[in-house]
Amino acid sequence: MSVIRCDDLGICFFRGQPRAVAWHGVKTALGLNPSAPAAGTGPAMGASELWAVRHVDLEVPAGSCLGICGPNGAGKTTLMRLISGIYKPDEGSLAVAGKTSALLSLGIGISSALTGRENLRVVGALHGLSRAEIRDRYVEIREFAGLDEPTMNTPVRFYSSGMRTRLGFAIYAVLTPEVLLIDEVLAVGDASFRQKSAARLDQLRERARCVVISSHNLGFLKDTCDKALWLDGGKIVAYGDSAEVVDGYEASTRAPEPESAGG
């Protein structure tokens, strides 16, 4: 049974002069651009279409850990945002079975004016935790973040960037998402926190039905994931066993072919 299933998935952005892009966006939203979601043609007023992800067919079975690799601009983050539900697809369909949690950047919902504790309530609400649930498991979260009580009652603007990051990730000490999406964010914090977050990630991976990780750290992808997806120019280059796919991608980056896919 597949947890994530994409059929001919595609999403279109516009690029060009800001003014042209703005008009194009307005016209598309109002349905005045018949060309927009359909064929990949018809630049309007200097704005051209950019399919950040297109023709992606993917089935991620339950219990797997999928790594996504590819050069900058390959569509990794866009695909993650599609799976998490931040973006709605223009083409094809997408089905995700289970409660999804996206860890696409650290410090989501954290305001520097609020204390660590106040921020935890906001971050908790973003993940569907009530104030009572946060209160009951507060010590657990705080200890995972490695922040003491006076620090938790201090505005985050006085935190070091590492402390801020730890606070952002700490909510995962009590979250058990069924589908976990992680975008190249865990290489942060000091060594001990990295270890702790890696350990917690292992736990989450065991409990989750599916984990998707996008990263440029190919060794990490090979070690962590059992499956891998190689994206380039918004399209799938290869999908399968992680070692094979990552090796293939690695080889392509070492020996640049004269006719590489220009995305």
């Binding site: 973006y87 004016a113 106040e118 906001v122 609400a125 973003l126 569907g128 935790l129």
Partner: protein
């Protein structure tokens, strides 16, 4: 863990609290500013107009305050609402947060702040020797209409503002025009019932137009009549305001649903 409707309601509330806390925790006087600001506003008008320059309308500062307090509420809340998506771009592109919650929380925070202006207004009413009457019980009605209008307009403007940043400028300009077209500085009854359009023989029913075309007529008169005159709101005008508010909510939600996806791709 909660889900669906309850989840969104809890999230909206939490984001509202966070928006309020962001203001209070950074200021020594904290939430007292939400009382002080309208207090200063009315006092300045009271001094400038009440003492320096006499005005034919009795207790003109109080008369003016009845319009300024709801007007300030509307402008602050809709301006923040119109910027809600832009100012939360980071959040909206990192997590599948409910977008309506983001807009509503900004409007709700501004509304809670603005509500503290109402006791100030009632304080001035007593200062000017107006007897509190039962008509004050009507006061929540125009305020509910105002809150509905505010959220409708915010839903309408917030995604449009991302696609066309000119929205901020044109909205600010149109607010200025709307203020002078609203019975804030003057009373509805001061407006002639009809006037001839200059250079033509077309008769314009000015008062009727002001009542039915401007949602602020009903709101301002709805606040002013109970406080200044001890009368219930001007019903036809308040009905017109309620219709405008309903239209704003229906159109605003529709536009929001349609444009929010495109708007988020612009970040």
């Amino acid at each position: 863990m909660s889900s669906g409707w309850a989840f969104d309601a809890a999230l909206t509330w939490r984001l509202t609290i966070a928006a309020l806390q962001r203001f209070t925790t950074q200021r020594v006087l904290s939430w007292a500013w939400w009382i002080l600001e309208p207090l200063i506003l009315i006092t300045v008008y009271a001094i400038v107009i009440g003492f320096i320059r006499r005005h034919p309308i009795p207790d003109y500062p109080l008369f003016l305050a009845c319009a300024l307090i709801p007007w300030r509420w509307y402008t602050v809340a809709t301006t923040r609402g119109a910027n809600a998506l832009l100012s939360n771009a980071g959040l909206l592109t990192a997590t599948p947060v409910n977008r309506e919650s983001v807009v509503l929380s900004e409007v709700a925070a501004a509304t809670i702040e603005a509500l503290l202006g109402i006791p100030v207004l009632l304080g001035f009413m007593l200062y000017y020797g107006e007897e509190p009457t039962r008509a004050l019980l009507w006061l929540p009605l125009p305020l509910i209409v105002l809150a509905a209008l505010t959220s409708g307009v915010s839903f309408l403007l917030s995604p449009v503002n991302v696609l066309l940043r000119d929205t901020t400028n044109s909205y600010a300009a149109s607010l200025r025009v709307l203020w002078f077209l609203s019975p804030g500085l003057y009373a509805l009854r001061e407006i002639p019932e009809s006037a001839t359009l200059p250079g033509t023989s077309i008769e314009l029913p000015l008062q009727t137009m002001l009542i039915w075309l401007n949602p602020f007529t009903g709101i301002i008169e709805g606040v002013r009549r109970p406080i200044v005159d001890g009368l219930p709101p001007h019903w036809p005008a308040l009905l017109a305001s309620a219709i405008w508010a309903l239209v704003a909510i229906l159109v605003g939600r529709r536009v929001f649903r349609r444009l929010a996806d495109s708007a988020i791709r612009m970040f």
